[in-house]
Amino acid sequence: MEFNQVVGTRRSIRFFKPWRPVEHSKIQVMLEAANRASRSMNADYTRAIVVHRDDLSGETRAALRNPTTTADLDLAPTYILWYIDLEYINGAQERLNELVELNVLPPSHGWSKAYVDDLVWPQVLKPIADIPEVLMFMGAVETGIAICNALNAAVDQGLGTCLHAFTAADKVKELLHVPDSWIPVWLQLVGYPAEEPEAGGQRPRRPLSKLFFEGDCTKPWQEDPEVTEHLKREGMIQAPAPFPYRAQEVRNLSRMFGLPE
């Protein structure tokens, strides 16, 4: 699938084919996509645990259940539990120096090993470890970027996926042996969609001019209609929800799985 099509086709999928497992290779692609995501300091902010519904103990499945995701957990065959590892700052000095050696952080832009060793590490980065708000903020932003890559990699491979709130984190931590430094972020469900991949059409979004600006905040971004048309042809902008048969689709899926209507 082309990039524009992937971005345009991504939806939060809530009806999965519970009988169809996700290939291990496809999950690996998602994890590699996450691992290739942009990240400051080349730090390892993100951790994930992949679990398969049918391999989980009854206790673990029960721990993951909550009043708002029970049906989703039954339908999706694979879950990825995403975490921030708050120890990401450890090793930042070595990683930055590695990037200096690789000319990724070149002298042309002011970088040197002396700068890393004498200034950036001791005065900027090391102190971050003692500022929980900054530590959490950076971890959340960078982990979100990694998860976004994994979402798009799932869509690219014909999978459905959806992010859910992570509840019962303490119990899950105990059952899955999660280290103390890991902070839960999202529970990602993965499977083959039982609903159409378009899931009733593209969700409403506000126009670019309401959200983005050029120059300063008094000047809304002006859309070029030709670009907009190009993106429609490429599949980033798709037919909006609701498709005329969406209500019937949801009704039939609900009946198939015995869910409330």
């Binding site: 009043p67 708002t68 029970t70 049906a71 989703d72 009704r251 015995g258 869910l259």
Partner: protein, 122 residues
């Protein structure tokens, strides 16, 4: 019904919470017989719980310190347990039990109580 019993079929059907449920997009065009069966099922739950339909909804709500309406986790758990216990008394198992319990959850869902039951996946 005001004292907590299920009431007659007609009383049940006319109560605001039941009307909200039956007029929801997924059920409004359903055949009359389906509506009747759902109301009878709900009536059974009301009798079992000793509460009218509106009271079932109220049981799942609480008022916050700032005066807002919120879902009561304790109340919702009570409703979940009551639905499961009621379905068990009917002797249902497997798919039929899931469908029946989820039909009753639908009543609460359409009255603003966010909840999910299990899916029947065979």
């Amino acid at each position: 019904m005001a004292d907590g019993s299920g009431g007659t079929h007609q009383e049940l059907e006319e109560s605001p919470s039941v009307q909200r449920w039956l007029q929801s997009p997924g059920l409004s065009s359903a055949p009359e017989a389906e509506h009747a069966a759902l109301v009878d099922l709900l009536g059974g739950l009301c009798e079992f719980a000793g509460k009218g339909p509106d009271a079932l909804v109220t049981e799942c709500l609480r008022t916050t310190k700032s005066g807002d309406r919120a879902i009561s986790a304790k109340g919702r758990r009570w409703a979940e347990d009551t639905i499961e216990a009621f379905v068990a008394t009917k002797g249902f198992t497997g798919h039929q039990a899931v469908v029946t319990a989820n039909a009753l959850r639908g009543f609460l869902i359409h009255n603003g109580i966010f909840m999910q039951g299990p899916a029947s996946i065979g």
